[in-house]
């Protein structure tokens, strides 16, 4: 297998203009590669920049220097310099990002929240909903909740809806930021199964797991930020 994600000399710092222009360096000249079918853990103490790294790859945070090259069927794209609409396309087809937090949109039912990334790719609604329901079932979301907005769900239920959404479509590159945090053992195992399946389907995974044992199950090697 060969790399589908190449991070080259990546530097990131934050400047807080509202707080006397204080500068927070996060990392300098970071290099990393992830191959298709490989899961790589990002490790380091809290506040070290693990989440920031994933957000840089997703294009949410802007790099100060360096490149984040992503391979897709149009060739290599550098997320750092790509035009917004190219990043939007990459997010639809190539780069998936799963956190523990669901951004609830009022009035959209849980099954539609999960089906949406598939429908964005042109998959017909019925087929997308079918897969959505399978995932919700696997993540132990009771059927009576599927057609309700997650607005009123418990934190854990929202988290599982978010995970179902994140794994609904196949992404060649998958970013996971503590997806199992605050889940019970059974649901953690379900998430680890989904990670393994995605890997089996060839996804290149960059993941943050708080729990060491889970990290060992899910990932084959790690990048240390410490």
């Amino acid at each position: 297998m060969s790399a589908v994600l190449k991070i080259e000399n990546l530097s990131k710092s934050f400047v807080l203009h509202q707080q006397a222009g204080v500068r927070i360096p996060v990392f300098d000249c970071l290099n990393a590669e992830v191959e298709a079918g490989e899961a790589v853990a990002v490790t380091g103490p809290s506040g070290r920049g693990k989440s920031s790294l994933l957000k840089l790859v997703y294009g949410t945070y802007r790099a100060n220097a360096g490149a984040i090259n992503v391979l897709s069927n149009v060739g290599w794209t550098d997320v750092v310099t790509a035009a917004p609409r190219d990043v939007i396309e990459l997010r639809r087809d190539v780069i998936g990002y799963v956190t523990q937090f669901l951004r609830v949109i009022p009035r959209v039912p849980a099954e539609m929240v999960v089906a949406e990334p598939m429908m964005d790719r042109g998959i017909v609604q019925e087929q997308a909903l079918e897969r959505a329901r399978t995932l919700l079932e696997r993540l132990n979301i009771p059927e009576r909740l599927w057609h309700l907005s997650p607005m009123t769900f418990s934190g854990g239920e929202q988290q599982r809806v978010n995970i179902a959404r994140g794994f609904a479509a196949h992404f060649p590159i998958l970013l996971l930021d503590e997806p199992t945090a605050s889940l019970d053992t059974d649901n953690r195992n379900r998430v680890l199964e989904l990670v393994a399946e995605a890997r089996g389907q060839g996804s290149a995974i960059l993941a943050v797991f708080h729990d060491e044992a889970e990290r060992r199950i899910a990932c084959s090697r790690s990048i240390g930020l410490d």
Binding site: F14, H17, T60, R62, P106
Partner: protein, 256 residues
């Protein structure tokens, strides 16, 4: 693929006062762009220049017509511009009274736009109007009522139906939820979000509310004193704002 709308150094001044200055961007089919900034920053001026309601003092706005031609707004014939406004474009005003004909029924407000593009068959007009009112969640038994009898939220939804009935490719919205109660806003936003997605519309949405921008847009431009000081993906602007003013704006709201 070419940009649907392309702005090159668009500026508008009111005498010595700057409305907007030197604005450049491309909007692609299906994209939703939010223009944010505090009151007086030039958002409405820019939107009116982009939509041909106000002549720019300098700069160019090009639009890609359905037949593939790229035409500068100020070089279009008046007839061409009118047709564009009635068919390919929609304009949702902050105050629904500016976008509706208050003297005729809700159904006629929708039907009128269809007639403007040549639809003549009464039965078809009526059926389509009813269908659109249903899509914007206006009960069928209110179709013959005057917009005066409608609540603020309903008027806004009617305005949206009136605009979308001709299947435009681009919709301009100026503070579409401004002045509405929070609960009414949520319903309207959800409706707009759903329609824009389903119809694959491009939209330019002016708002001072970052939560509205977060919900509706994929890209954002931040304006201050007539200038665009920062632009990028919506989540970039909100989560990693670079300009001091954008950081102030983002940190001033509780959570978006």
């Amino acid at each position: 693929m070419t940009a649907l709308l392309s702005a090159q150094s668009v500026s508008k001044s009111y005498g010595a006062r700057a409305g907007c200055m030197d604005v450049c961007f491309d909007l692609w089919p299906g994209e939703v762009l939010a223009i944010v900034g505090e009151s007086g920053s030039g958002k409405t001026t820019l939107l009116r220049c982009l939509s041909g309601h106000l002549p720019a003092s300098s700069g160019k706005v090009h639009y890609s017509m359905r037949d593939g031609r790229h035409v500068a707004l100020d070089e279009m014939s008046e007839a061409e511009r009118r047709l564009l406004m009635r068919t390919d474009w929609g304009f949702v005003h902050q105050d629904a009274r500016d976008g509706l004909r208050m003297g005729v029924s809700a159904g006629a407000n929708v039907g009128e736009r269809m007639m403007a593009v040549g639809e003549r068959h009464y039965g078809h007009i009526r059926a389509t109007a009813t269908d659109w009112l249903e899509r914007v969640e206006i009960p069928e038994d209110r179709i013959d009522d005057s917009p005066w009898s409608y609540s603020g939220g309903m008027r806004q939804r009617l305005q949206i139906a009136r605009n979308l009935v001709t299947s435009p490719r681009l919709v301009f919205m100026d503070e579409p939820t401004g002045g509405l109660d929070v609960s009414v806003q949520a319903r309207l936003l959800d409706l707009i979000r759903g329609l824009v997605k389903r119809l694959d519309l491009a939209a330019i949405v002016v708002t001072h509310d970052l939560a509205v921008a977060r919900l509706l847009s994929s890209r954002m431009m931040v304006m201050q004193q007539g200038r665009v000081i920062e632009q990028g993906l919506t989540d970039q602007i909100l989560e990693d704002p670079q300009a001091p003013y954008t950081q102030l704006l983002v940190s001033s709201v509780l959570q978006v």
